[in-house]
Amino acid sequence: MIQALKLSKTYNGSTAVNALDLHINKSEIYCLLGANGAGKTTTINLFLNLTAPSSGIAKIAGLDVTTNPLETKQKLTYIPENLMLYPKLTGVENLQFFCGLSGIKLNDKEAEIYLKESGLQEDARHKRVENYSKGMRQKVGIALAIARSSEVLLLDEPTSGLDPAASNDFANLLTDMKERGAAILMATHDLFRAKETGTRIGIMNKGRLVEELKAEDITHSDLEKIYLNHMKE
């Protein structure tokens, strides 16, 4: 569902992503770990076609993102580290707007159902987003993914800055999305959440995917050791 074939990106001579090979299937949460500047965000931007690859191919649902940018975006939902919505609009109105951009028309009731599924409390749904916490905004992002039945979720450090309860809620939502069949790529610094939520874990260092692990095969402390070892390289 999410595929990188020898994907590379170079900025002014420095390599941000180096010959990345990645294959993420349906119903899979792939957690991409790495220090700042390891190439995680660039990888996600390459899948979003926000930046063009220097070489290699990025594919979503079998389609090259550079030649089919709108078709591939139709299949995915992107949640950045700090999901910003239109502050003067309510959660319902924001959801309706972003769904409208994908050609999905939601009435108020339908929008409320999706927001409920994402765990956004009832009394907040018709309030302006300017009063929302980060966790509440992330939930609107998940509601968007549910409403659009997205096959792919690209998440860039979505839990950073969330309190443990909100982070746990978010992880549960991701698991729910996985069970619905979504392929999820999540860049994160949170080793604990990666181990708990992820199906597979990839470690990036200096643009390279240096390690790939199955979450079920390792313990939290093993993951930490492996990660720190790679960071010393």
Binding site: L48, L50, L70, E71, K73, Q74, L76, T77, Y78, P80, N82, L83, M84, L85, Y86, P87, K88, L89, E93, Q96, F97, F98, G100, L101, S102, G103, K105, G141, L154
Partner: protein, 433 residues
């Protein structure tokens, strides 16, 4: 598109600047049309008063003549004789006014009316434009005229800039750009629809306000000229929205966009017109007004000095027009004065060419260059539609001179022959077309 429009509506209805515009734009348009309408009514009133004065004068003279012929009245001096062509063509309130009547869309632009008069009076010796008191109003001199043309050309672009300068840049600054970029729709398309909606809202507000206020003040905007006006208004608003779109396409901040667009406003409305004015007056300089006044005085002194000589020359050329023998004193003196006046007018007309020719060339050059500034081109267009452009107002001079010729052709031969009027002939006195 519908969803984007709905979203934009939800977005701008919460914006204070838009709510302000909802009130300010109709008020500005209403106030400008009110002032324009007042100005036109004042012109119409002036025209009506002067026409009435003219009619009363000739009506009174006709009644005086009838009374004299019936032996019910008499006159004591030659200038009181209502049958005398000179009395009917030259003295006191005699003469006809030539007017440039307001056009149907005159209320829209006062144009050059504060500089050029819209009427003048013709007698045998004068064909001078006259003024209302507008020029003497000191506040008018300081503030200029507040008309619809000013609102449209100068102020509306500022509202458009407020509505359009940050359509995409604000998305970047508010952090929503990343999410927008991940949507299955091109950013340029979003920009287009957002600006299109804002364009429709602003132009709808302006056009509806214009139509409603025009209906209040009895200005016919449903004519061909009115429809042309509405089309031009829409084009002008679209022009400024296009500039906003160009700025939004570049990845600049809202502050840079605002400053850039305000800079363009200054360039298009102030700098380019000033440059055009500078270029035109440098390439085709007009001699100083002082030279013209000196020239006029010189002509008058020259004619005065040559007095009898000029009259003799005229006699040689027009022997049949002068009555020899026992003629009244006023006849002798007034034939001379008319000959001298004609001579002065001819010489002044020749001398005026020195000033008129560069002015025409200036006007032609400015006319070609003004397309460098679409706002100036629009201002000129509006003035033409309102009939307050310099070209039309300057045509008053020609119209006055043309009618003076007609006036002289009618009256002078009768005066030279001392062919006095009968009551039946009053209807033959010429009127401006």
């Amino acid at each position: 598109m519908k969803d984007l429009f709905l979203f934009e509506w939800r977005h701008i209805r919460n914006s204070g600047s838009f709510l302000g515009m909802l009130v300010i734009i109709p008020l500005l348009i209403g106030f400008s049309l009110h002032l324009g309408n007042e100005r036109v009514n004042q012109q119409l009133e002036t025209i009506s008063q002067l026409r009435e004065m003219e009619e009363t004068f000739y009506y009174d003279k006709l009644n005086e003549l009838k009374a004299i012929e019936a032996g019910e009245a008499e006159y004591n001096a030659w200038w009181q004789n209502p049958a005398n062509p000179l009395v009917l063509a030259q003295f006191n309130q005699a003469g006809r006014h030539v007017f440039l009547e307001p056009k149907p869309l005159s209320a829209l632009a006062s144009g050059q009316l504060d500089i050029f008069p819209y009427y003048g009076k013709v007698t045998l010796t004068t064909a001078d434009p006259l003024r209302d008191n507008a020029l003497e109003n000191p506040f008018m001199q300081v503030a200029g005229s507040f008309d619809f043309a000013f609102v449209l050309v100068w102020l509306i672009p500022l509202f458009v800039i407020v509505m359009g300068y940050n359509v995409i840049s604000s998305e970047r600054e508010n952090g929503t750009y990343a999410l927008l970029q991940s949507q299955p729709i091109a950013i340029k398309k979003i920009l287009f629809y957002k600006l299109l909606f804002r364009f429709l809202v602003i132009s709808g507000l302006i056009v509806i306000s214009l139509i409603l206020w025009a209906l209040v003040y009895g200005i016919n905007v449903f004519s061909i000229s009115g429809l042309q006006l509405i089309s031009i208004v829409l084009l002008y608003i679209a022009f400024w929205f296009c500039l906003c779109a160009i700025f939004n396409l570049y990845q600049t901040s809202s502050a840079v966009n605002a400053v850039g667009l305000a800079g363009l406003w200054v360039i298009l409305l102030l700098v380019i017109p000033a440059l055009i004015s500078l270029i035109v007056s440098t390439v085709h300089p007009i001699p100083s007004r002082a030279i013209w006044i000196t020239e006029q005085r010189a002509i008058q002194q020259d004619v005065q000095a040559q007095g009898e000589e000029l009259f003799d020359l005229w006699l040689v050329d027009h022997p049949e027009e002068f009555l020899e023998g026992d003629t009244p004193q006023f006849y002798q003196s007034w034939v001379r004065r008319l000959v001298w006046a004609e001579n002065i007018a001819e010489r002044e007309q020749k001398a005026e060419r020195i000033f008129e020719e560069p002015r025409i060339r200036q006007s032609e050059m400015a006319s070609r260059l003004r397309f460098l500034s679409p706002p100036m081109a629009l201002q000129t267009w509006l003035e033409r539609k309102a009939g307050s452009d310099a070209e039309r107002l300057r045509s008053l001079d020609q119209e006055l001179k043309r009618f003076q010729s007609e006036w002289q052709v009618f009256f002078l031969p009768r005066f030279y022959r001392l062919d006095f009027f009968t009551p039946d002939e009053f209807d033959l006195i010429p009127r401006p077309s």
